[in-house]
Subunit: 226 residues, 2 copies
């Protein structure tokens, strides 16, 4: 499984991204494929978190990954090696993915036989949050070194996600990150978001995260059966 393709994706020509996203989500529900849109800043640990997640769930779920990057194929190589079906998407300078681009990526990957697909979005806290990709749910990673004040500066992404992984929690003693203060900022923006402190390095919190994912995949598949 250590192979992957690289695909150049083009800006979508659809008038309404929201409509396109709804169509894609309906198709994924029908196909019983749970798509998770994973967003974060550059360097927060998206790929390392995915590698941990794939290792934890690989025996029970068939996993695919869309790796969106401006350039390079480092990440697709890494997640393919970890055991996922992977495709590298080159966005040609685009700072986010929309539903049409996600659809191109899914078609390039091939979703037959997959239960769970991660869209590792471009590393960007602003533009990514403005586009519905068609995913069933959205998650973001904020890493401890980025600081607990990020919800004040980039509120929109914190408003739209279902889960916030606070990564690099093992390094919290090196930084002035106050988890309670962070929780209070999130409470003002998004009272539904689940906050899970994790360390992709040590494995802390990965069980809570994969338990959430497993449960969401099951719910999605049972909705698809109706």
């Amino acid at each position: 499984m250590d192979t992957f393709k690289t695909l150049k994706i083009k800006k979508s020509v659809y008038e309404s991204n929201d409509r396109e996203a709804e169509k894609l989500r309906d198709k994924l529900l029908e196909d019983k494929v749970f798509l998770l849109n994973l967003m974060s800043s550059p360097g927060s640990g998206k790929t390392t978190t995915l590698v941990r997640t794939i290792a934890a769930l690989n025996k029970e779920l068939r996993i695919g990954v869309l790796e969106a990057d401006i350039d390079s194929d480092v990440d697709a190589r890494t997640v393919a090696h970890a055991g996922a079906r992977a495709i590298q998407l080159h966005t040609g300078g685009m700072c986010h993915l929309d539903a049409g681009m996600t659809r191109q990526g899914l078609e390039g990957l091939g979703t037959e036989g997959l239960d769970l697909v991660f869209l590792e979005n471009v590393g960007n806290l602003i533009c990514t949050a403005n586009f519905d990709t068609g995913a069933a749910k959205s998650a973001m990673i904020l890493s401890v070194p980025e600081g607990d004040d990020k919800p004040l500066k980039y509120p929109h992404i914190f408003e739209v996600v279902d889960v916030i992984l606070v990564n690099k929690i093992d390094a919290i003693s090196c930084f002035d990150f106050d988890l309670d203060r962070f929780r209070s900022y999130i409470a003002r923006l998004n009272h539904k978001a689940k906050i899970i402190p994790i360390s992709a390095k040590t494995g802390e919190g990965i069980k809570e995260w994969t338990d959430w994912l497993r449960s969401e995949v099951e719910q999605w598949k049972s909705r698809g059966k109706e």
Copy 2:
């Protein structure tokens, strides 16, 4: 000096950002105001670095700061308190500043009597790098926790900057960041960029950084005299 204004800036209507940037740069040269465009990911330490920089140069240079953010005025408050003339710019969701927006910011700040103005750009490694702001020079901060592989994934910003500050160098033992490997990636993209490891927390490297800034301001002012 602990006060600052907040300004909502609008997307520019100019046809050619490059032309607008050149005009702004000419004006700043005439006025002998050195504008530095400072870019980075969210949470890399732009504001803390600015506070250190202002403290180091405040007695010899008159400093202004344009704080560009999607929302909040945390940063303008902080740098105003550090002793700079500051203005908070709210970009209304825009993920970067262009020359027209920078001009609005400078007009709002008032550059009379200033030697050095920092534009703290929106936290974003992608979109910011695509727009000439009219600054004399551009710098970026990459923090150690973000990882030494960022030049592979976000090459453009590393190509266009004059200086790269590698911040949070005090935390390097907690992370797998190889400074030599990082230097080799940069050498392939931009052989002119100066790389300065710093810690905005401990002050390490700040002298080399402020020496570079002081020298650049002097050169700019003497060019302005010609």
